[in-house]
Every structure is written in structure tokens, then in C-alpha cells.
Amino acid sequence: MLSRALPVLVLAVFAACRPGDRGSADAGGTMIISVGAEPDALLPITTTSLAGNQVADIMFERLAEPGDSMNTRGDGGFVPELAESWTWSPDSLSIAFKLHPEAKWHDGRPVTARDVAFSFDIHKDPEVGSSVAPLLSRIDSVTVSDSLTAVVWYRQRYPEQFLDAAFQVRIHPEHWLGQVKRSEYTTSPVVRSPVGSGRFKFARWEPGTLVEVVANTEHYRGRPKLDRILWTIAPDFNTSATRFFSGEADYLEYLRPENVEEIKKHPDLTITRYGSLDYGFVWFNLRDPRNNARPHPIFGDVGVRRALSMAVDREKAVRSVLGDLGFVAVGPLPRAHLFGDTLTTIGYDPEGAKRLLDSLGWRDTNGDGIREKGGRQLRFSLAAPTSSQSRLQFSVILQAMLRDVGARVELDHMELRAFQELLARKRWDAAMQAWRTDPTPSSVIQTWGIASIKDGVNFGSYESPAFDAAIDSATSSMDARRAQEYYHRAYETIIADAPAIWLYEPLNAAGHHSRIKVASMRPDAWWTRIHEWSIPRNERIPRDNIGLRAATP
């Protein structure tokens, strides 16, 4: 969901661009990315979809990006982006960011400290409802000391206070976004053609068809090597894969095992593997979908949730769906965050699951193969989005596995936006979901914390004060080892509570046309160095020579 840097798996070396290497003789080329779902929005602050996040990230910038030092505590290794430099106050309760003097918005106006203050303000505003708001609770205010200097004030010092300011908040232009009412950031037609400051600028968005960005030749750190990037939008994953293999697109971001086989047959296609910070799970709604004040008639009981977790042979399911492109998940965190930790997980034990369900009163009394309790069948719907072939497959495999312990699963496959909508309105029983995590384990509070039930994305309403307290202690502890212990306690709690069946962690592999020379890819966001990607002059195909001119539809 959120894209940030990863401290542990980062392979990327952030080569800071030298000022003055504006315009390059070898620049040029078109890259077409095939995606299976429409972006929900292109504004960084409102988008919650992967496709939207990519486009937004490429058009907008942060104050600084984490570097190859793999550090998220303090500012060590961070690479300047919009900020040219920063200074800490002696008590560490404020940081002054000095902006790059040549930084400009795509409409030509300079990027100022007021834009920075504005951006922090909107990210914290509940009316906007940004998903990073819970992470900014310890930031008190942002003041403007001169047109290029913004000062971030903290309520307390804590290890990741720099990360939160420099990385979590993407800088939006006040002069442009200020004209839109804050409650309408998701719907106003204005935000459909955003003005950013990044290396690529917005060209067009045709719903259901494509999104196009072109090189910002005026960028203060130099123009990107490609002329343009297009996202061609297919209605589902398979159509997007078809477009890639037929040569209509150059890049397919998440390959499935069968795609890997297929690529080997195409000499002009290449596979690039990179790490992942995603985890996929079967999400249980802990609240009654018809009346959120009541617990869910089935999943309200932790015993049932644990029993259903025990009924699933996760190893087998993951091998079947992902092959060698994934492994079994541990909990709501990718292994990269484990730091050698070993957590107690719920193992595969179908007989134990049956015994547990029996003991909880869920018994098959009428012999139809489905358990009942108090006149209610152990029967629920499992939603999955058609944009993810993997999740669709998991849902069918789980349907069969759960049938073996007497649970009847009704599959509900739908288009991604309808799926997100269903989740957000909490009218569902179970759902196949995947989250993308942050560089630090602390971000788990965004997805599973109590504060995120009402305004955030904790749509399953998992509510554990013990879990929240442990995460809180971990993020405020300045002692790294103590922090680790708190994290351990938090994860043990949530895994035992089983608000989800922790299913898989994908290993990412992207397919792309061999003429595209990619830079190293960050596991959380493969596109972070896309301005360095290039297409050598002698390998260009006709569509690479379009230049910067506009399309004539």
C-alpha cells in the first residue's frame, strides 16, 4: 500500500546527480507499462493503489530519500531530494529543511517552504484522510522561516523522526492544490491532472485506457533518460500480461510463475528479480458486516479464526500459486523485518482444526458437510480482486481446503475498485488482501492499529490494546535492542490473535523488453530510479522516436 525505502534489502546505490547534467544527448525512448487495474487517483496524498502510487511517485518528490546505508533511525545515509540540506536543533526537537533553490513545479513556479508547511498540514488533516496521518502524530507543526527554509517541530524525540518528516510526506504545491476543497481531494476533476515537481510531468489520463507522463526537461537535477512513460490499463491481470507478451507493452511489474516460463521463450524479453516488502493474507472481518457494532457471528471468535488458520496448508498453497516466486508468510510483516527473530506461528493441523471447531460448538449436525452452531452455518464469502491472478487462485484453493474441515466458502471475485470499496465499507466476511510494508516494522500500526479502524485502513477492525502498546513502546524506544523485544511481543500478540491467515510473501520479478536498461530496483518501489533507465540509441524501435511531442488521438 505505502511505498517507502527498505533498509535491509536495498540494493540500490543512490548516485546523487551532479547539478548541471541537464539534458543528455542520449535521452529518448518510450516505455509502456502494462497494468491490470486503473489507478484510483494520481495525487500522492490520496492514492491507495499500486498503480496510482507509481505514477504519483514519479511526478512528485519528497524532502529526502533513504539511501544505501539501510538506515531509518536518524538521518544517516539519507539522500537529498527536494531538500538540499537540513540542520537539527541542539535538543533534536526540530529540523530545518533547506530547499533546492532551483526546484520548480511543473507549471514553472518555484517550490517554496510554504508548500512544505502546506503539505504537512494536509497530511495531518482528518478531512483529507491520508493513510500516513497516524505516523505524523508526534509532529507538532511546521513553520516557514524563509522562502526556502521550512522547520519541522516535534512533540518528542524518537528514532525515526527524520524518516517521518523527510519520507512519509510528499510535497504538494499549495498554489495549485490550495484551490481544491480538502474534502474533495479524491473526487475533484482538478486533481486528475496533477502538478508535481518530479522528473516526469503529467501529460494525460484517459480512464480505462492509459496514463501518460513525459520527461521534465527543466528538472533541477537534470532530465530523465526516457522521453515518456505510459501505463496501459487492462481490465485484469491476464489481459495486461497478454499485452506485454504481444509487444504492445514493455514492462510487466509482477510476473507469475507461468509468465516466467513464457518469457524464456521470447529472446527479446528479460526478467529482473527484486525483493519484496509485501505480504498477502486472508483477512477476517471481526465485525458483523450488517451491523458494525456487533462482533462477526463467525470471526468474532478467536478460536474459529485460529481453527481456520490451522486448516490451511499454506506451504502447499503458496507453492502451487507462486512456485518459486514466493514463500509462506510469518505474520503481518515481511521476513526482511524479522532481524533473525523467530515467531510462534499457527501450523497446519487439519485434525486439530476439526477438534477445535467441535469444541467451540461448530458441529455438522445435519450431515451436509457444513458445520453449524446455533442455527448458523459455518459459511462465509471470500472476496478477491480480479486484478490479482494469484489472489484469485488462492481463493479457490482455500475454498477446497476449508471445505475439508466443514466450512463453506462462497467466492466473490470482483474488479479492484469494487473490492476496495467493499473493504472500506466493511460489508464483507473475508477477503484476499495484500499489504506492502514500510522500511521499518513500525508502520504496522497503520494497518492493524486501533486508530486506523475509524479513519484508516484497518477495515477488519482488529482491536488489540496490547498490540498497540507494544508497537508504541517499540517506536519510542531509543535502544534498538529493547525496541526489537517490543516488536517481538507485538507480533506474537497479533499472530496468536489470528485476525488473518498469514499466507504468502511474494518474491518480485519484473518482465521487460531487453532494449530497456533498468537501474537496480528497490523492493518497495521498483520505480524509484526510473529516471536513470534508458534505451540505447541503436536498439530503439519506432515508438521510441516519438520525441516529446504530444499525442494526436
Binding site: 485506457t209 504492445e248 480480479t386
Partner: protein, 325 residues
């Protein structure tokens, strides 16, 4: 003639009104609250939500809601598409021409092929050609639209990749092609979906056509013509074919609903950005207002088609023309 058109127009209006009412009832009967959902949806702009609430009169009694619904329809206001984040009418305006292109090509192709098949079969009744064509016709007539589309795709887009698998133009690149390149690109994309639709529709037409042809061929004036000593060919062309074409015009009206149905599946399989694909996508996205609007538009199209057929029929058939005067 004018009276006939006026009367048929009036009938058409009544028919569309009944169809729209049926659609309204369907929405009212549906479980959950499809319209209310839209009004409470935070992703729909606030002022659109407010307008929707007013437009549907959600808090008012059913008969007032119905009156509002009819008034909005009459004004061409079809509501808000949640999945497309824009008015339903805009989505339809984008999709309709694409469907019309596919259907137009298919209609012409199918009529030529279907009538020709029917005529050959009737003219060479009992021959090997008749039986082979009969079997072929029945084969395609018995085929699910989507399956023929998948098979065509499998053979001509995967096994022998001479045509593109999906879309109406090559994604993205099309915008940067020369005019001639654009035309060629469109034609290449049109071949598979159009051919599929032509084969399916031609099979239907051929079945009717052969029956109509045989019907006419046994009538008195044909026998008279033969008795006059005209050659068999002259009889066929001058008398039989002309008269046997009349039912084909009626078939034009009948073909439209079949074409709409076929288009749903074929557009879906070939990802052709028309109304058919739009409705499938809208269902997957649970976009009720879009689905409803397409159903009503579909019935308007069909009604207009049969109206047109009736008028053409009146023009072509001297007996009716006389009568209408």
C-alpha cells in the same frame, strides 16, 4: 407512409417506456439498496451525491421516485458512474461508436454471407453444397458466441499469431501513428471480432433465408413465371430473390438483439472497448447505474432497429405501401 411511421414511432415510445419501467422495478426489487449505496459512497463527489439524492428522491414514496426517474431519463440524465468517476452518459458516448462500428461491419458482412448461403442452398436444394452449407450453418448456429471468439483467438492470435488478441487499436502506440498506419492498425484489430460476429449472425440469417426462399419459390407467381418459359436463373433472380428478401428486412429488426447479445461476449473476449465490454466491466465493478443505463440504451437500439425494419419493409413491399396510403 407518414402515418405508418408516426404510429410505429408512438409504439416505439410506449415500448421503451415499458422497458424503462421494468428496469426501474428491477432496481426497486433488488436486495440491498443499489441507489442508496451510491448516495452514501464517500468516493462520489459530495455535490454529485446531493444531486443524486435529489434526483432519485430517495426519501420519497416509490411513485414519486418513479416520476423523478422518468423525468431524468427523458432529459437524458442517466446518472453517475461510480466505477468510471464520471457521468454515465459520458461513458456511453465513448463506448457507443465502437460498438456501432463492430456491429455495422458484422451486420453487413452477415447479411451478405447469410443471404448468399440461404440462396445457394435453396437454389441447389438437396445437393451436396446444400447439405454441407446446412451442416455448417447449424454448426455455427449452435455455437456459444464466446467460445467461437476464444477459439478464433487461440488459432489466429496465439498459434498462428497474425492478428492482435485484444483491443481496438494497439495500446498507446496508436496515438502516434500516421493516418494510414492508424487505419491499418484498426483494420487488423477489427478482423477477428468482426469475423466471429459475422459467422454467428450469418448462420442465423441463413437459416431464416433458406426457409423464406423455399416459401416463395413454391408460390403461384413463380410457377406462372416458370410457365411463361423464363429461364430458371431469371425466375430465381427476378421473382424469387426479390420477394424472399422481404423477410430478411424483418430479420434486420430481429438481428439487433442477437447482435447486442453477441457483442457482449465478443467485446469481452477481445477486450473491444464498446458497450458490451462496458456492461461486463460495470457488473464486475458493481456499478449499478451504468448497468441500468446500458440495458435501457440496448432496448432503445433494438426498438429503433425494428422500427427501421418496419419502415423499410413498407417501402419494399408494394402491397403494404398501397395499404398504408
Amino acid at each position: 407512409m407518414r402515418a405508418l411511421v408516426a404510429r410505429r414511432l408512438l409504439q416505439a415510445v410506449v415500448i421503451v417506456a415499458i422497458a424503462a419501467t421494468a428496469t426501474f422495478l428491477l432496481v426497486q426489487l433488488a436486495p440491498g439498496d443499489p441507489l442508496g449505496d451510491l448516495v452514501t459512497n464517500p468516493r462520489v463527489p459530495a455535490e454529485v451525491r446531493e444531486r443524486l439524492r435529489e434526483r432519485w428522491g430517495l426519501d420519497r414514496p416509490v411513485h414519486e421516485q418513479y416520476a423523478l426517474y422518468v423525468r431524468n431519463l427523458a432529459r437524458g440524465d442517466l446518472g453517475w458512474s461510480f466505477s468510471q468517476s464520471r457521468p454515465v452518459a459520458h461513458a456511453l458516448v465513448d463506448a457507443l461508436p465502437n460498438t456501432m462500428l463492430l456491429m455495422g461491419v458484422a451486420l453487413i458482412g452477415a447479411f451478405v454471407l447469410g443471404v448468399a448461403t440461404g440462396v445457394v442452398r435453396a437454389a441447389r436444394r438437396g445437393s451436396v453444397a446444400d447439405r454441407a452449407l446446412g451442416a455448417g450453418t447449424l454448426f455455427f448456429y449452435s455455437m456459444p458466441d464466446f467460445w467461437l471468439a476464444i477459439m478464433a483467438m487461440l488459432v489466429f492470435a496465439y498459434w498462428v499469431p497474425i492478428f492482435p488478441t485484444s483491443g481496438m487499436t494497439t495500446a498507446v502506440i496508436y496515438d502516434y501513428l500516421s493516418p494510414a498506419g492508424k487505419l491499418l492498425d484498426r483494420l487488423r484489430h477489427l478482423v477477428l471480432p468482426a469475423t466471429t460476429l459475422v459467422l454467428l449472425l450469418a448462420a442465423i440469417i441463413a437459416r431464416y433465408q433458406r426457409a423464406a426462399f423455399l416459401d416463395v419459390a413454391t408460390q403461384d407467381f413463380v410457377r406462372t413465371a416458370r410457365a411463361k418459359g423464363l429461364t430458371e436463373r431469371a425466375v430465381l433472380w427476378r421473382h424469387v430473390l426479390r420477394n424472399a428478401l422481404l423477410p430478411v428486412i424483418t430479420l434486420l429488426g430481429l438481428a439487433l438483439p442477437m447482435l447486442v447479445g453477441g457483442a457482449v461476449f465478443i467485446e469481452h473476449v477481445f477486450a473491444w472497448p464498446g458497450m458490451g465490454r462496458l456492461v461486463v466491466v460495470a457488473i464486475a465493478a458493481r456499478d449499478h447505474s451504468l448497468v441500468m443505463a446500458i440495458v435501457i440504451l440496448g432496448s432503445v437500439l433494438v426498438t429503433l432497429g425494428s422500427l427501421l425494419a418496419d419502415v423499410l419493409y413498407a417501402v419494399a413491399d408494394p402491397r403494404l405501401r398501397l395499404h398504408a396510403r
